[in-house]
Symmetry: C2
Subunit: 637 residues, 2 copies
């Protein structure tokens, strides 16, 4: 089945990409831009920079030490292949299929006879194979190759085991031979091979690949890799995954590893491991996650900080960590059916994934800070951006993991909208779409979802086929949606956050409507999050809002808002009452006094427009803040 | 004259290290530990790690690509030499003199016939000379060699131009030939050669070295170096020094460069350049400096952040940046006589320099954060610490710039206590000491300072010799010392912050007493410093205080203090009223509500002891915070 993730069992089952179709709206337009702009954009940059030609050089025996790109550039090609494969299932796009064949041909020529496939190691003028497991990314690259092959397998009954799958099989077999129980006892510094092997094993029904993933997982956390200056927590080799209490180190590494841990736990029935991962999720979400769903507090190691270390300005919140967080939460949801995971997926989709690409799909945020003090410089669309922190979306990066990660996520996004279980159909994310799902017993649940969510909160689910027997339609009421209403057959009833269910033998044409409350609302930080003490955020539906210098006269530095007045609805965002108190410019910024420096009374209140965070810097470089300092009432007010 | 910095002219003149002697107290004990423990500790580690043997390998022609140490390890040897030289002047220590000769012998053997001296480039198996100006540190190393020679020159009339000076002269001549007006148009990625050349020129009275420093300065800021992923601001090659508005990029680089800019401005009478540096100091101190005087907000590039970006937890505040900040402020003070510079020096001495070394002088902080959430792991005294952020002082580091920088600063610290001008003697930093300064006209000002400052605020200046004519005794009243009193001949009068003066023909035995107010006081952050909004700090005299987990039951995470009650004096620190409100552990840390989560009433108030920040983690690993969240009054209180 054409599903990005397909466990052998679990509390709920995913739908295939051909069973769900997003027909427009917020995500439909993004899928269209991804298909028509981003995929070609990525291929063109990789051609231009020689990342594709690296495969030709291996094939032609013309490798040399001055290879272009980082050691992980192969993986970008594989992630593009994965995106192209999901795209073929989404639209039957023959162009995407042709691109897959074109790229596969070049990749295949570079594979060594024993299955080893890498353009950075093991050939003329290059370091030997597996000579830098810590930072060399060889197995990481292979993991992404396997993921691409999984996508090809699951979207191509008509392809059978095509060239890409055969290449991946040879590469996977080489890995199993080299790193199997009797082979090298190593692991890769960047987890990814584990999740690639697990899914590849599931897609082919060959358990030995899952077993190799388990072996890599169990080897990790024992100081298996050499220490580095950032410490072994950087690549999660400090603590075995089943003993860890929280995510730490490089965020993408931590989350790819965790995704694989869920896969292995599910395939092995290892409930202890699954529970360990759930505990890590719980503490990391409760103490190390931004309001946007973003993860990664530190630039230095692209990593998680400590509990409560969540600076908005230096938030790294790498786009790829958002992708990886969804990978983890989706797997945990499939295993458990717990709505907290789909809640976090929604938050991450609207506030990390949607934030990265520009409307034209040809520029991307790498880091997603929640506070930008000085507007970034507009990126030159013809230049590689060396820096992840420019405050402006860039066409391509020196380390360019995010564009292809966005591409593969968007191409398969409809796979994350709904699931089935023994009772019926469960809808988790709201977009205008059609869903035709086979239920147990051979019955089909067919619905059309009509909504312009998140512009409004009305979600109409129209039954598209008569049912022979009762089934359950379950709709997710997001955790933020206190006061939601379900309207069924003209009767409205309040529904609590969680899954709300309607069960009967539905008739075609029936409409079940979910009304989600879209009034903007104040959200406060836990008092232990030091970096945003004394601040408030505003959210509307699933969207985090922000203030941007385009809309605020003067300096955002000085903005303070009145938390006594509730935020007001405003088209596409909200308004709060704010002001810009003047601050004395002191030669030394730490005045000594009995009380805090008082705000200057007289600074007038005005309406501060807030817009969705995901749209920031689309009107040009700007300063921006999600967390708004609360103005203490001045004397006499 | 044996002064660490000796401009040809300026508003005030430094004293030589033989004219001032610290006789005990806070700094006297630290100088003694430095002399008896730290100097040998540094030499022993450099021997053990092969950083000294690197010189032997060059001399013996046994270099290879696997040289131990970073490219800048030579500079640590030179900084140790500089420290040893100041130490010979401080105590006449023949052991230090012998160590200088021993080290100089090994260094000299490694010098190439044309004066080039570097153990990492230009010899068998090594990259060619000057093949990596961006990151190779060759000229940086030479700069520190020149500084060591300056110290030797200024402390060794009896040595004349000894071997170290001759080695340095050959190295400096090589640099001038190679990078002169007709040579390579390059600069070093890490500024230091500039300040080394300027001082070497001044010490020898040879202007061509100053001129080469000027040339390096003027070449910088035009994209002279290759771009790097952190951007050219990292090494201040983004904007010419005379056009810059603020310090940015790597803090130590920025400050070493600025020190050289002051030297060149003074020697060339370039008031425009001097004023540019003063403006940079003003804005950087007003917006990019921690309450401790620490500089550098970011780990990623060891660099300054943007204006108001001053996170306490991820504060880098490298010890070396504190040393470099003092270098800059001292030069600006000598040029202008402005007390704001000596105010900042005091703050940096007590809260950065004093924080780094352990009481035994054999372990050091590299980074100096203002908030430690989880106690560090005790460092193994026999291991090199790979990390700058361990939360525990370490014996030595992989990058070990800080120990030798502390050593050279402490060894020459008495050179920063006082100056003279045309009117008399000016005392800036208070320590028990004797000062014998020659005044214009040949008169001698001899005083003894008696104080246990900063334990108490009483500073007695006892005149030690009759004066033939009136002279002025000027005493710095620190900016923080509102309410200070001067007692002269039994009469007390209030004195304002700034320099306070007494002028007459002093008689031996007269005592002028300065009483500085040592009651602990609240200090507040500028409201634009986002990371410490809603917090207060407590200072006492020149010391910033902190709360440490050793003294606070439960979690410092939850500590909140009552800002309505003034801090109370406590031996060696202060007490504030605080409590540990319980916080609900939420699965998602951003509750939505009309108002901020209220503190749980009923958490009892208790006295929170605060101790000097510089002493933190001396009682074992601890969590710690300088900025204390202010508890809002709970309902009903």
């Amino acid at each position: 089945m054409s599903s990005p993730v397909l466990p052998s069992h679990g509390r709920v089952r995913p739908l295939g990409l051909t069973q769900v179709s997003i027909t427009g709206g917020f995500w439909g337009s993004r899928q269209a831009v991804n298909a028509t702009a981003t995929l070609a954009h990525c291929e063109s940059w990789m051609e231009r920079l020689g990342w594709l030609a690296n495969f030709d050089r291996v094939a032609d025996g013309t490798t040399s030490p001055d290879r272009p790109g980082w050691s992980f550039s192969d993986s970008e090609v594989y992630k593009l292949l994965e995106a192209l494969a999901w795209e073929t299932a989404r639209t039957g796009d023959t162009g995407a299929d042709a691109a897959i064949k074109r790229l596969t041909g070049r990749i295949g020529r570079a594979q060594d006879p024993d299955g080893y496939l890498n353009t950075c190691f093991g050939h003329g003028g290059q370091p030997p194979r597996y000579s830098d497991l810590e930072m060399g990314h060889e197995l990481y690259n292979t993991g992404h190759l396997l993921q691409a092959a999984v996508a090809r397998l699951r979207t191509g009954a008509r392809h059978g085991e095509d060239d890409l799958v055969r290449i991946a099989r040879r590469a996977a077999d080489h890995v199993c031979r080299t790193f199997g129980p009797d082979g090298l006892p190593g692991i890769c510094g960047h987890p990814e091979i584990e999740v690639g092997l697990a899914e590849f094993g599931r897609a082919l029904g060959e358990d030995r690949y899952v077993e190799q993933a388990r072996l890599f997982l169990d080897r990790r956390g024992h100081g298996t890799l050499k220490d580095i200056s950032l410490g072994r927590a950087y690549f999660q080799d400090d603590i075995p995954v089943r003993e860890a209490e929280v995510w730490r180190g490089h965020a993408v590494r931590a989350l790819y590893l965790t995704a694989a841990a869920v896969d292995v736990a599910v395939e092995r029935g290892d409930d202890e491991l699954l529970r360990a991962v759930e505990r890590q999720w719980e503490r990391s979400v409760a103490r190390r996650t931004y309001i946007t769903g973003g993860m990664g507090s530190r630039h230095q190691d692209e990593g998680f900080g400590e509990d409560w270390e969540l600076p908005p300005d230096r938030a790294y919140c790498e786009t790829c960590a958002g992708v990886a967080s969804i990978m983890v939460s989706w797997r945990l949801h499939l295993a458990t059916g717990d709505v907290r995971y789909t809640d976090l997926i929604e938050r991450t989709l609207y506030n990390v994934i949607a934030t990265s690409p520009s409307p034209d799909g040809r520029a991307f945020f790498y880091a997603n800070p929640l506070h930008q003090r000085t507007p970034g410089k507009p990126a030159d669309p013809d230049e590689v951006s060396p820096r992840a922190e420019a405050g402006a979306r860039a066409a391509w990066f020196d380390v360019s993991c995010c564009p292809t990660n966005v591409a593969r996520t968007l191409a398969g996004l409809h796979g994350y909208l709904a699931t089935t279980d023994d009772d019926g159909l469960r809808i988790h994310q709201y977009a205008p779409c059609t869903i035709r799902a086979e239920l147990p017993g051979g019955q089909e649940a067919a619905v059309e979802v009509e909504t312009d969510y998140p512009e409004t909160g009305t979600v109409r689910v129209r039954i598209a086929a008569d049912a022979a027997a009762p089934w359950t339609l379950a709709l997710r009421v997001p955790a933020w949606a206190a006061g939601a209403t379900l309207i069924d057959d003209g009767r409205a009833r309040p529904v609590d956050p969680g899954m709300t269910e309607v069960r009967r033998a539905f008739r075609a044409g029936e409409v079940i409507t979910l009304e989600l409350p879209m009034e903007p609302r104040f959200t406060w930080p836990d008092p232990r999050i030091d970096a945003v003490r004394g601040c408030v955020a505003v959210e509307r539906g699933p969207e985090v809002l922000c203030a941007e210098s385009h809309d605020v006269p003067g300096q955002l530095d000085a903005l303070a808002v009145d938390a006594r007045s509730a935020p007001q609805a405003d088209p596409g965002g909200a308004r709060v009452r704010g002001r810009l108190p003047a601050h004395a410019d002191r030669p030394w910024p730490y005045p000594q006094a009995a009380a805090a420096p008082a705000p200057v009374a007289g600074a007038g209140w005005f309406d501060v427009p807030l817009r969705p965070y995901h749209s920031w810097a689309q009107r040009g470089p700007s300063s921006m803040r999600v967390w708004l300092p609360v103005s203490p009432p001045p004397e006499g007010e």
